[in-house]
């Protein structure tokens, strides 16, 4: 069995009397491709925020590579290989794309605090940045800023930043959200270039995409796990069909 990378144990989050995450147990091993679906308000993004440390859980724990990281900051978790993308693109709007990728590489290498050496003298970082963009067929966009890019291209920049951090676990929060149908294939091609041993948790409302991408599915409803299994099992699951795939009986 491949290496256990991410595990949540009885993860719970409440805002007053509102319980948005209820005792979630999630396991991701190296190479896992897990799809997370559920209606709006099911607690999918909250779960990602809990795993990444943006939110502190009310109860339960997050383990990364066997280590309890529940008390660690978001930055410390990223250093341990836990990386996310956002449902709504989060980029520095006027910084050229390649500089943003370079920023991520500097962050990964620990050279981001370097005061003295000009960033233009880090040629290995520049080469790696260019190589990542080339692998996503974005080399031509290197000098452009996100404000000049189409939304689908901006989603690719998010994936490029994630790749630059060389994650062990990648949490993709609706990578196709807002992407025009004509540009969707570009994002899919980008996802196909990700390393095979990377553990991925993907939230997505595009059912065809997520069912094709994932080898395991988890369905959330009102903060709790409604169903879990292979894509085929989830397709057949009566409660899932009733609630999320628009079928009855």
């Amino acid at each position: 069995m491949s290496e256990l990378l991410l595990e949540t144990r009885q993860l719970r989050k409440s805002f007053g009397g509102l319980h948005v995450t209820r005792d979630i147990n999630l396991v991701l091993r190296a190479g896992d491709k897990v799809g997370l679906i559920g209606p709006n308000g099911a607690g999918k993004t909250t779960l990602i925020n809990l795993i990444t440390g943006v939110l502190a859980p009310s109860a339960g724990a997050v383990h990364l590579g066997g280590e309890d990281v529940s008390a660690l900051s978001q930055a410390q978790r990223v250093k341990r290989g836990l990386v996310r993308t956002f449902q709504i693109t989060q980029l520095a709007p006027t910084l050229p794309v390649r500089l943003q990728v370079e920023m991520a590489i500097h962050e990964r290498q620990g050279t981001v605090g370097g005061f003295w050496k000009p960033r233009s003298s880090y040629s290995a970082v520049q080469d790696e940045s260019q190589a990542i963009l080339q692998s996503l067929r974005m080399a031509g966009l290197a000098a452009r800023a996100p404000v000049e890019l189409a939304y689908g291209e901006q989603r690719l920049v998010e994936i490029a930043l994630a790749m630059a951090l060389r994650p062990r676990v990648l949490l993709l929060d609706e990578p196709m959200a807002g992407v025009p149908s004509g540009e969707g294939q570009v994002v899919l091609d980008a996802l196909a270039t990700l390393p095979a041993d990377l553990a991925i948790l993907m939230i997505e409302h595009d059912m065809d995409l997520v069912f094709n991408f994932a080898d395991r599915m988890m369905v959330l409803a009102e903060g709790a796990v409604l169903a879990e299994g292979s894509p085929a099992e989830i397709r057949r699951h009566p409660a899932v069909r009733a609630a999320y795939l628009g079928e009855e009986g």
């Binding site: 520095a92 910084l95 050229p96 990964r108 981001v112 005061f115 290197a142």
Partner: protein, 331 residues
């Protein structure tokens, strides 16, 4: 918003602005000798506005309390000269250390907050510093200011003269070095991260950036430069007043920064020169209404994007070139 280019410009383009600045200094020195005292004050003040640019333009931290670091730098240099040594370079070092320590200590608390809360707390810090300086009369001279200290020869070569020649050369040299240092610092990966934090904190947090730690470093560095500026002003004027810690200085510096454009340090320099020159000339012409001119310029600069100024300028240049070109050249 600060924007960085992908490729470093060619060497000549990097050197050209510094050469032009040097040329301007020579022009002032030889052609306008009676303006040297004012030019020296502007050079010292420009360091302060550039240090503010680090915080506001690069880090995206709106502050109205930056004068606290300037003021403690000024008092540190004054006290050093009064009680220990009048060595000017040690005075600058004392100012830098005092500004950096205050920025570090206050930043540990301030940087827990953002936006308006941060802004209001920075004002509070400068007000506390000003009140402390007022109460500690035996050290600071209180409302009368700290005076009576003398500054030794610069590098053992030249003393401050009445015409302000030495003061100008000294202030300009320190300003020139500070500008180069700050530009160099912000061209580093650290500078890039600061711009990233300014533009999108959420993204930087997702990259694993320790945002408060990076901003604390930036705030401390800016504090050191503000302290140098204060120390320089104190050495040249040989008096330090309570106003050096005041809110008004911070607010004026912010106006200068907006006038020149934040986020590249050159704008801070230009803004300081423009503001101080208008202050000097317009207040002489009309001491009661000169602020209208500054206000009008500020409104214009804020309402008309900088790109529009650039486009208008390049259109004028093109028209000028066409008019200057021989008639056959255009066909």
């Amino acid at each position: 918003m600060t924007s960085l280019s992908l490729h470093a410009p060619p060497l000549w383009r990097q050197v050209l602005p510094y050469a032009a600045l040097l040329g301007l200094a020579l022009l002032i020195y030889f052609v306008f000798p009676d303006q040297l005292p004012m030019a020296a004050r502007i050079a010292a003040l420009a360091i302060f506005v550039m240090s503010l640019d680090l915080v506001v333009g690069y880090g995206g931290l709106a502050t109205l309390g930056h004068s606290a670091m300037y003021g403690v730098g000024a008092y540190a240099a004054g006290l050093l000269a009064t009680h220990l040594t009048g060595n000017p370079l040690l005075g600058l070092l004392a100012g830098a250390c005092a500004g950096a320590v205050l920025a570090l200590l206050s930043g540990l608390f301030l940087l827990r907050y953002e936006g308006l809360t941060f802004l209001m707390l920075t004002i509070a810090i400068s007000q506390i510093a000003q009140n402390l300086a007022s109460k500690l009369r035996q050290w600071t001279g209180g409302d009368d200011g700290l005076s009576g200290f003398t500054i030794q020869k610069i590098l053992g070569l030249a003393s401050f003269d009445l015409q302000g020649r030495v003061a100008f050369v000294y202030c300009f040299a320190v300003m020139f070095i500070c500008l180069w240092l700050m530009r160099r610092l912000m061209a580093s990966p650290f500078g890039l991260a600061c711009v990233g934090i300014h533009q999108n904190r959420q993204r930087m947090a997702a990259l694993g950036t320790r945002i408060r730690w990076q901003l604390l470093k930036l705030y401390t560095i800016a504090g050191a430069f503000a302290g140098i500026s204060g120390a320089l002003a104190a050495q040249v004027a040989q008096i330090v007043g309570l106003d050096s810690l005041g809110f008004e200085l911070s607010a004026e510096a912010l106006v200068m920064l907006v006038l020149g454009g934040a986020g590249n340090l050159w704008g801070a320099l230009v803004g300081t020169v423009v503001f101080a020159s208008i202050h000097h000339w317009a207040s002489t012409l009309n001491p009661y209404h000169w602020l209208f001119i500054i206000g009008g310029m500020l409104v214009t600069m804020v309402l008309v994007p900088r790109e529009r100024w650039g486009q208008a300028l390049s259109r004028r240049l093109q028209l000028f070139r066409r008019a200057a070109a021989p008639s056959g050249a255009s066909s």
